[in-house]
Every structure is written in structure tokens, then in C-alpha cells.
């Protein structure tokens, strides 16, 4: 395919817009699609791809933050406390990315993508509510409440060490693959720490930008973030995500998640095969 930079940039922007749109409609985030889009379709080296993807993750997290923070669901202390784990994880992940073979990155990416597809198709049930008080959570001031039509609903946080460790893994994956790891973050908060779903998702979205920023510096200095490539990805994904937020109320999320989940499962398998075959 003989593309000029102009044609390439426009196509990448369009693809990124679709990725951002679908990502925000399904709640999966555009990050998971950007890397396969760039590597499989545009034959971009995976290092440039994860760099561009990481940039787009920071962009969507920051751009959408106002929406998440407006309603009062997110828990700042939980977020900040867990960010210690995610940022350290992100640094480790970024350093790891510079040391392991690109094929390994592709394979790990594919596995994580499969997990995302799985959670998209089979959503995780909410396990929070009616918990006794956990002393560590109390000490760290992690408990809180969220607004419901009936008034403020309290919740108690549990399993702090488990949640913290899972957050480290979320950060590691974010730094290694250039994704937001929102799914793992929600997993850690919702299932492990028994934080209500809406609180988990809003807090997670809020945290994603900080986690990504931790590894961004390392990516920058190693040359993973190319300005010419990151530019259309960042702008495309941001536009897509904003558009997605607009049309979300009318969208059939369940159907989208099933279709999207199936599509990324297929993409995941291709990433894994390409990685094993040494073609990435």
C-alpha cells in the first residue's frame, strides 16, 4: 500500500476516532484497540503503537474527567492511595517494555485483550454492600458514601492489601502495553475491595491518567512516543470518546459490548499468533 503521510495520518485519525467511539460506548476504553489497529492494520512497530496509545489514554482520561467527577461518586482517597501502587507498577511496566522482546509484548497484549473481551461479554456482578468495618480501611480513611435517590449510601472497603497488589498489576500492564487497565482497576476495587460499581468505575477513570503519566516519561525518553503518529491518535480518540459520551444515552450498550467483545477476542488471537510467529 503506497500511502503518503497525509493519507496515513487521516486514516489513523479515522481509525482512532472509531476506537475512541466504541471504547467509550462499551466502557472498554479506546486504548485496547489502538495498539492492534496500528500494528495489525497499519504495520506500525509495536513500540510506536504503545507510545501513541498511552498518549491517547491520558487524553481521554483527562478530557472526560469532568464528567466523572461531577456526580460525586469517585473516592479521592481510595484513588490516591491506590495510585501509589499503580504508578510504581507503571514505572516497572515501562522499564519492562524496554527490555523484553516486542513479540512478548504482543502476546501479553493479546492475553489482556482476551480478558477485556471476556469481561465485556460477561459483566462482573457487584459484590458490595452490607460489609462489616475493616480496620485497615478505617485507618486509611478509605470508607465513604455515594449519592442515591434515597440519600447517601455508605460503603466499607475491604481487602486493602489484595486491592493494592491488584492495582500494582494494573499499573504494570498500563506501563507495559500503553493501555489504561481500567478493567483491572475496576476488578481490584469492585470485586476485591467491595467498593460499589459506580464508585469503582468513576474512581478508576480518574486514576487512569495519572497511571499513564507515570510511564509516559520513560516512553518519551526511549523514543516510543512519536509526535507524527501520536498526533492523529490522540486527536482521533479524543473526538471519538467525546462523541461516544454524547450518543451514549441512546445507545444499546449490551449489544455493542457483545459485538465489540467478540471483535476484540478475534483481534486478541491474531495478536497472539503474530507474536508467536515473530511477526510483531
Amino acid at each position: 500500500m503506497h500511502l503518503t503521510t497525509l493519507g496515513f495520518t487521516l486514516l489513523v485519525a479515522l481509525g482512532s476516532l472509531l476506537a475512541g467511539l466504541l471504547g467509550s460506548l462499551t466502557g472498554l476504553g479506546g486504548g485496547v484497540v489502538i495498539v492492534p489497529l496500528l500494528t495489525l492494520l497499519f504495520h506500525v512497530d509495536i513500540r510506536y503503537a504503545i507510545g501513541a496509545s498511552l498518549v491517547s489514554v491520558i487524553a481521554t482520561s483527562s478530557g472526560a474527567a469532568a464528567a466523572y467527577l461531577r456526580e460525586g461518586y469517585s473516592n479521592m482517597r481510595v484513588g490516591m492511595f491506590l495510585e501509589v501502587a499503580t504508578t510504581v507498577g507503571a514505572l516497572c511496566g515501562a522499564f519492562l517494555a524496554t527490555r523484553i522482546p516486542t513479540a512478548a509484548i504482543a502476546i501479553i497484549f493479546g492475553v489482556v485483550l482476551l480478558y477485556s473481551a471476556w469481561t465485556s461479554i460477561k459483566p462482573i456482578p457487584d459484590v458490595s454492600g452490607g460489609e462489616p468495618v475493616d480496620h485497615l480501611a478505617e485507618l486509611l480513611k478509605l470508607n465513604g458514601s455515594y449519592p442515591t435517590p434515597e440519600g447517601e449510601q455508605e460503603y466499607h472497603v475491604r481487602n486493602v492489601p489484595a486491592g493494592f497488589s491488584l492495582m500494582y498489576v494494573a499499573g504494570l500492564l498500563s506501563g507495559l502495553l500503553g493501555i489504561g487497565s481500567g478493567a483491572v482497576k475496576v476488578l481490584a476495587m469492585d470485586r476485591a475491595m467491595h467498593i460499589p460499581f459506580k464508585v469503582s468505575t468513576t474512581t478508576s477513570n480518574f486514576m487512569i491518567g495519572v497511571t499513564a503519566a507515570a510511564s509516559a516519561g520513560i516512553y518519551l525518553h526511549r523514543g516510543y512516543i512519536d509526535p507524527g503518529l501520536s498526533m492523529p491518535v490522540m486527536l482521533g480518540v479524543a473526538c471519538g470518546a467525546l462523541l461516544g459520551a454524547r450518543i451514549l444515552p441512546g445507545a444499546r450498550v449490551r449489544t455493542l459490548r457483545l459485538v465489540f467483545g467478540a471483535a476484540i477476542a478475534a483481534i486478541a488471537i491474531e495478536m497472539i499468533f503474530k507474536g508467536i510467529g515473530g511477526k510483531i
Binding site: 482520561s61 490516591m80 504508578t87 495519572v210
Partner: protein, 126 residues
């Protein structure tokens, strides 16, 4: 947590959300302008992202990036926008330190400073 402190938290969160959005739009604007300049210059060249080179030194050192951006070099201008983008969540953490200090929550002032330190380390390490 008391009603009053919950209210304060909520107000601060709304403010943070707006800050993050401003940071994003500012950085996006810089990236867009840089992007347009970049396309004007490089539109007809073939893209070469299949082979990883590591970044050329013109976009590696911050001082050079700023200087290049203000001289109208498109790649540096985009890079400046990207730096602003990365600094947006960092500034959010910085403001959180101040807010926790105002609330006299020293446990979280320390926690947030720790996160800030980790972020700065990530940005300056070579």
C-alpha cells in the same frame, strides 16, 4: 466523614475535573496546530513507522523541545503539546497535595506527595 468535609471534597473534585479538561483542551490545541504544520511540511512523504529508530534527539530534551516549538518546528510543537498533556494529571496530583493540606489530612498529604515523587521520577529518569 462530616457533611461539611464531604461538601468540600465534592467541590474540589468538580474543580479538578475542570482543571483536567482545561489541560486536555490546551494540550490538544497545541497538538492540533503542530499537527497542521506537520502535515503541511510532510504531507507527501511516505510514513515510516514500520521500523523502530528510537526518537531522534530533537524531541528528547525538554529545553530543545520548547525552543524548537517556539521556532515553529512542527514536531517539537506537537511534542510540547504532548508534554502539556502528560503534565495535566501531574498538576492534578500537585493540587491534591494542597487540598489535603488545607483539610489538614496529613496522611494523605504524605500519600499524595509520594505519588508526585513517583511521577517526577518517571519524568526525569533517563
Amino acid at each position: 466523614m462530616s457533611e461539611a468535609s464531604q461538601q468540600r471534597d465534592k467541590q474540589f473534585e468538580v474543580f479538578l475535573g475542570q482543571l483536567l479538561r482545561v489541560g486536555f483542551f490546551l494540550s490538544a490545541a497545541v497538538v492540533l496546530v503542530g499537527g497542521l504544520l506537520y502535515l503541511m511540511k510532510y504531507a507527501h512523504q511516505p510514513p515510516q513507522y514500520g521500523i523502530f529508530h528510537g526518537e531522534p534527539s530533537d524531541v528528547r530534551h525538554t529545553a530543545d523541545v520548547v525552543r524548537g516549538a517556539f521556532s515553529g518546528h512542527s514536531r517539537e510543537l506537537i511534542e510540547l503539546g504532548l508534554l502539556l498533556l502528560i503534565l495535566t494529571p501531574v498538576s492534578r496530583v500537585l493540587l491534591s497535595v494542597i487540598e489535603f493540606a488545607r483539610e489538614r489530612d496529613w496522611l494523605y498529604v504524605t500519600t499524595t506527595l509520594l505519588v508526585l515523587a513517583i511521577l517526577i521520577y518517571g519524568l526525569v529518569t533517563r
